[in-house]
Amino acid sequence: MIGGLFIYNHKGEVLISRVYRDDIGSQAADSAVFSSSGPFLGERLGANRRNAVDAFRVNVIHARQQVRSPVTNIARTSFFHVKRSNIWLAAVTKQNVNAAMVFEFLYKMCDVMAAYFGKISEENIKNNFVLIYELLDEILDFGYPQNSETGALKTFITQQGIKSQHQTKEEQSQITSQVTGQIGWRREGIKYRRNELFLDVLESVNLLMSPQGQVLSAHVSGRVVMKSYLSGMPECKFGMNDKIVIEKQGKGTADETSKSGKQSIAIDDCTFHQCVRLSKFDSERSISFIPPDGEFELMRYRTTKDIILPFRVIPLVREVGRTKLEVKVVIKSNFKPSLLAQKIEVRIPTPLNTSGVQVICMKGKAKYKASENAIVWKIKRMAGMKESQISAEIELLPTNDKKKWARPPISMNFEVPFAPSGLKVRYLKVFEPKLNYSDHDVIKWVRYIGRSGIYETRC
């Protein structure tokens, strides 16, 4: 299991250190031997543990090379690390731990910290170090991850210190049963005057296209994010136009099958928040759950078939002699004319030896950004079934470099108000048998946003 956990700043200074196991370096056992004066006080302390801490700093944070692996083995000790802005989180072990679990835990730890104090920065960590130690004590015991749902943690660990002093006995046992219980993500007795829920279908559409316009790979990875403000312990059921479900239901009338068959989508795979009853999904393919309070990610899914590609990029690159390039890029929007795409950005890479660029574009603004080695073309809005074009002349400095320019792909960013996978929410039913509100009383909002993931066209 995890032997210890360290948080470093970008200089490699330790901000948080928690050691769970002796094998990664015994505690400050020898420190008493040293006199507590002298300039190297810090350096001398607990030689072993400091070794693990230093090993990571020297070999990973200060390494000259780019990091070649998120798992590093130094002197028979394994270091797992993730980086958030310029903060490093490292889990350390000498055992054959479940590596996937360690990374999941590190991500979770970041989420928990973010839920408590916002951005993970050196300042925030230093400001909240007592809180972080408390959290670590709770969510990682002897290197075993424990309940790490912020909903549950916030009932007894707060930034004002621990809420414990004056709890009643019932409150205490409510906390413990929630932390250990089957529905660890929701507390009892939530009340809202207005029962309301928001569903966001957020998709990112990924594309890799050859210069000739052939789709090399395309997939949509989507998330359904739910924000719920519901009283009591509501039982929810979520339905979408999943092909398997629709076909199962539509068996009755052949007519309906053919009609709905068109609208349904084939989902390659999906994963769910832990509140969803997986065995029920496996047997009946129905998605039922008791949601956490507030915002959470209900599901993630992936589709690869019949994807609506919102934009098509047509590149044309011509090398004119050794010192000039001519680039022409056309983008075509491919969706209903009544819809508007936003935040469109096309990024056309330029060679490293570019000396000057001249651009002409029909719409939006385009600029050559020397520091990024790219021409960035921005268009605020664009309706469906439209076309726009940019042409550029790139002057090159003559070089002796034998190596040809690698021609990175042209990438694109955008946001569209529909789901490129074709996913539609069919219903979200809410039942709360104990309280007197029904499905009809709940106000529901649904929104679709499609964004570009890695949307690239080779040129």
Binding site: M1, V14, D23, Q27, A28, D30, S31, S36, G42, E43, R44, G46, S69, P70, N73, R76, S78, V82, K94, Q95, N96, N98, A99, A100, M101, F103, E104, K126, N128, F142, P145, N147, S148, I162, S164, Q172, S173, T176, S177, V179, G181, Q182, G184, L208, S217, H219, D268, D269, T271, F272, H273, L278, S279, D282, R300, R302, K402, A406, R407, I454
Partner: protein
């Protein structure tokens, strides 16, 4: 809240000030002071001097302050054990607190204070907490048992905590179950043979129920534990699989991977004709692909695992090639892993796409990645014959780019392609020769020289080309020198008239002017061959070379199966099994034993099929079949009668009589004799200490030096009473194999130091290797056959065991009691052949063939092992066991 201020103070006299603040009457000031102390501790300052003052703050009803003090205690208790006792009372009191959060906090913290004196006081509170009415306290207590076991295993057993822990598996609360499973699994790891988890269909059912209800982390603990279970039949395997598959839709990737592990393992038991088998295969692909949309670090873990899964069951992902295409912005570690998997999945159906991708990658920026992409093109050519031509032309295009390292990689792989498809693509040689000057890496130079030498008859100016290398002969690396030597000899044999002078020159450079023994030896061999029998020289040097195959990069099947059982863990990331114990070793520099495991572990691209450096002038090795097995092994072995069912003894391995290890005259009157035993999985050293001096001996202790198999005392040497003159005491010292490893000479040498009140004495002894033969050393027959073929013939060693008049049955059962298992038996022309396997504690397999002739008291033992060093000692073990 601006706690950051605590980090800032660094002035002198700080400790003194803190001391005053800690003893302040004001609560707030105290708390502030403790926070400062913790902040200093975090950044690595020594604040242990404040121990008594901090502990004084412990008696408080302020929970936040209490937690801070506990944090301090966990860090420093070990350095001040006597003072730490002061805290015990508060802990014991807190364990009785009406608030479950405080009870749990106390028991959790107590377990983290690793001071022997405190652990004694921990037992009673822990016992209560394990039966607490509140599940939160129980789940914390469950983990605490594992903590206590880590400090004092004996205590945990004596106090019966293991049984209580087992009871918790039936607890009503899923999180308690999950933590109990985690704790038991960890404890069981240090007692491999104890059957602590005692998994049976009933307990499995309980686990599967808890699986649906507990937290994501709990699900991981349970799934990892399930993976260690062996279902009794295929029906049970299927029903477990059915209940595990829903986990594949979990948002937590670790849950998914652990579920995949269980399914991959149990699938082995299902019949391939079963409908369910096909369904399961189909269900596995989507979640694996989904893992690739996780964060990059998890993608990396997933890819390393997929690499194993693809080798074990290629059919799962054979249609998913596209998802492994590299994205421009992938981190480099993800790119390199994807490339590996692309090659594994390459087939005739998708080769066009793969090649187009690889060509694209070869123009990227990262040098390692580009090189690997170029090599991958070569591998595709070797793997998919139909694509070879296209691959070669792609490589030629790449050579035209003139990018130095691309050209060099391309030449190295083209050489491999020549070896796979001789006399097919030699037309490209001219293009290759044009790039001769730009090659500056030894591997590429050696490859080019090999090509020129091999095809000397087709290259008009071969002699000029090779001569140009000769000028700087002594500056070249050994690899290039050897190749140049061989290349020129080949050239001479093909065109003797023009190259007499050249060959003279290289032979004298290699023999007279070089101090590299390999080079000299090879030079002399050629020289003598050429001078005595040119015809023979031709036969040897220009012999037909064995074709290389694409199979060389696969992980060895036994290792692969082992790694499949470790899916999701570090072992699957490193592609190396964990050592038999906690410290996972990967760097071969420090550990001799890892070297022994050697081959097959190398990464996909790294190793060279049939190195061109060393062996290609020798006649091809004979087919890799043990000669004595005869021709029809395929059918022959599978007809064999399976001997071993039903044979099984619990008596333990053979024990040699005690021998004197340390004579009294060398050790101031202490005489030590002893022997080694192995019984049901545990090794011990049985010692007999005799006091031949005139004074009483006390304070015995024992220590081992690092040794080849990591033998180390598992408990201290306990001589209960002082040893009076002329008294003898018998002690059995349990040994573990998790100590530090260093290769010894001889391999089974053990250096021991024994201390008593008089002095420290050193002696060394040789332990019989059979104490290291583990109980699960029986290899499956198919596996045996595959492994036997797989181990190169050089590693085979043959021995005669004389004066052993036993028949095959007797031999087999005698060996079995020492964990040498008979995998198969057959009779060939009146001789009994026994095929046997055994496994050492560090995971090395040894395969044996024992030939027994009725009426002839000697038998012949052939041993094959990846680590041939052990063979001699295994033979000695055979001798000892059979003759006693």
């Amino acid at each position: 809240m601006t706690d950051s201020k605590y980090f800032t103070t660094t002035k002198k006299g700080e400790i003194f000030e803190l001391k005053a603040e800690l003893n302040s009457d004001k609560k707030e000031k105290k708390k502030e002071a403790v926070k400062k102390v913790i902040a200093s501790m975090t950044v690595g300052k020594d604040v242990s001097a404040l121990f008594p003052d901090v502990v004084n703050c412990m008696q408080t009803d302020n929970l936040e302050l209490k937690k801070l003090v506990y944090l301090y205690l966990m860090n420093y208790a070990k350095s001040q054990p006597d003072m730490a006792i002061m805290a015990v009372n508060t802990f014991v009191k807190d364990c009785e607190d009406p608030n479950p959060l405080i009870r749990a906090l106390a028991v959790r913290t107590m377990g983290c204070i690793r001071v022997d004196k405190i652990t004694e006081y921990l037992c009673e509170p822990l016992r209560k907490c394990l039966k607490d009415e509140d599940p939160y306290v129980r789940k914390t207590a469950a983990v605490c048992v594992a903590k206590l076991h880590d400090i004092n295993a004996q205590l945990v057993e004596d106090q019966g905590f293991l049984d209580t822990l087992k009871d918790l598996i039936s607890d009503s609360n899923p999180m308690v179950v999950a933590n109990a499973v985690a704790a038991l699994s960890e404890i069981a790891e240090s007692h491999p043979s104890s059957n602590l988890l005692d998994l049976n269909p009933q307990s499995i059912n309980k686990l599967l129920t808890a699986l649906n209800e507990c937290t994501e982390w709990g699900q991981i603990f349970i799934l990892d534990c399930l993976a260690n279970y062996t279902p009794k039949d295929d029906r049970e395997a299927q029903s477990i699989c059915e209940r595990v598959t829903p986990r594949l839709s979990h948002a937590n990737s670790a849950v998914v991977l652990s579920a995949v592990k269980v399914l991959m393992k149990f699938m082995e038991m299902l019949s391939k004709d079963l409908d369910y088998y096909g369904t399961l295969l189909k269900k596995l692909a989507p979640p694996l692909v989904t893992l690739l949309s996780a964060e990059p670090e998890l993608q990396y873990v997933a890819l390393r695992n997929i690499n194993l899964i693809v080798q074990k069951r290629p059919e799962i992902l054979k249609h998913e090639m596209k998802v492994f295409f590299v994205k421009y912005n992938d981190p480099i570690y993800v790119k390199l892993e994807k490339l590996d998997i692309m090659i594994r999945l390459a087939s005739q159906a998708n080769i066009a796409q793969v090649l187009a991708e690889l060509k694209e990658y070869a123009t990227e920026v990262d040098v390692d990645f580009v090189r690997k992409a170029v090599r991958a093109i070569g591998r595709c050519a070797i793997k998919v014959e139909q694509s070879a031509e296209r691959c070669v032309s792609t490589l030629l295009d790449l050579i035209q780019t003139k990018v130095n390292y691309v050209v060099q990689e391309a030449i190295v792989v083209i050489k491999d392609i020549f070896r796979k498809y001789p006399n097919k693509y030699e037309s490209v040689i001219a293009t290759l020769c044009e790039n001769l000057d730009s090659l500056d890496e030894p591997e590429a130079r050696a490859a080019m020289i090999w090509i020129v030498g091999e095809y000397a008859e087709r290259i008009d100016n071969a002699d000029e080309l090779l001569e140009s290398f000769l000028e700087g002969f002594h500056d070249e690396s050994t690899q290039v020198q050897l190749q140049l030597l061989t290349g020129i000899v080949k050239l001479f044999l093909k065109k003797p008239t023009e190259t007499q002078e050249l060959v003279q020159q290289v032979l004298s450079l290699a023999t007279q002017d070089s101090d590299n023994p390999d080079l000299r030896d090879r030079g002399y061999i050629y020289w003598r061959l050429l001078s005595t029998d040119p015809v023979a020289a031709k036969e040897v040097v220009l012999a037909e070379k064995p074709l290389i195959s694409e199979e060389t990069d696969l992980i060895e099947p036994t290792l692969l199966d082992e790694l499949i059982c470790y899916i999701g863990t570090l072992a699957s990331v490193y592609h190396k099994p964990p050592m038999s114990g906690p410290p996972l070793t990967t760097s071969s520099v420090q550990m001799g034993a890892v070297d022994l495991l050697g081959g097959g572990l190398d990464s996909l691209m790294g190793d060279e099929p049939e190195g061109i450096g060393g062996t290609n002038f020798v006649a091809p090795p004979t087919a890799a079949v043990p000669a004595s097995l005869g021709a029809p092994i395929g059918s022959g072995l599978s007809d064999l009668f399976d001997l071993t069912s039903g044979v099984g003894t619990l008596s333990g391995s053979y024990v040699a009589p005690k021998a004197v290890w340390l004579p009294a005259m060398k050790a101031k009157g202490l005489e030590i004799s002893g022997t080694f035993t192995r019984q049901v999985g545990s090794i011990s050293m049985d010692l007999q200490l005799t006091n031949k001096a005139l004074q009483v001996m006390t304070d015995f202790a024992i220590q081992f030096n690092r040794n080849s198999f990591g033998l180390a005392p598992a408990a201290p040497l306990q001589v209960h009473a002082p040893l009076s003159p002329n008294q003898t005491v018998e002690i059995s010292l349990p040994l573990s194999t998790v100590g530090s490893v260093m290769k010894m000479e001889p391999l089974n040498n053990l250096q021991v130091a024994v201390k008593n009140n008089i002095d420290v004495f050193y002696f060394s002894t040789l332990y019989p290797l059979h104490i290291l033969f583990v109980e699960d050393g029986k290899m499956d027959r198919q596996m045996f056959l595959a492994t036997w073929k797989d181990i190169p013939n050089e590693n085979e060693a043959q021995f005669q065991i004389r004066d052993c008049p036993l028949n095959a049955e007797a031999v087999s059962s005698k060996l079995q009691s020492s964990n040498i298992f008979t995998v198969a038996k057959r009779n060939v022309e009146g001789q009994d052949m026994l095929y046997q396997s055994l496994k050492l504690t560090n995971g090395i397999w040894v395969l044996a063939e024992l030939r027994i002739q009725p009426g002839n008291p000697s038998c012949t033992l052939s041993l094959k092992c990846r680590a041939p060093e052990v063979s001699q000692h295994v033979y000695q073990a055979y001798e000892t066991i059979l003759k006693n």
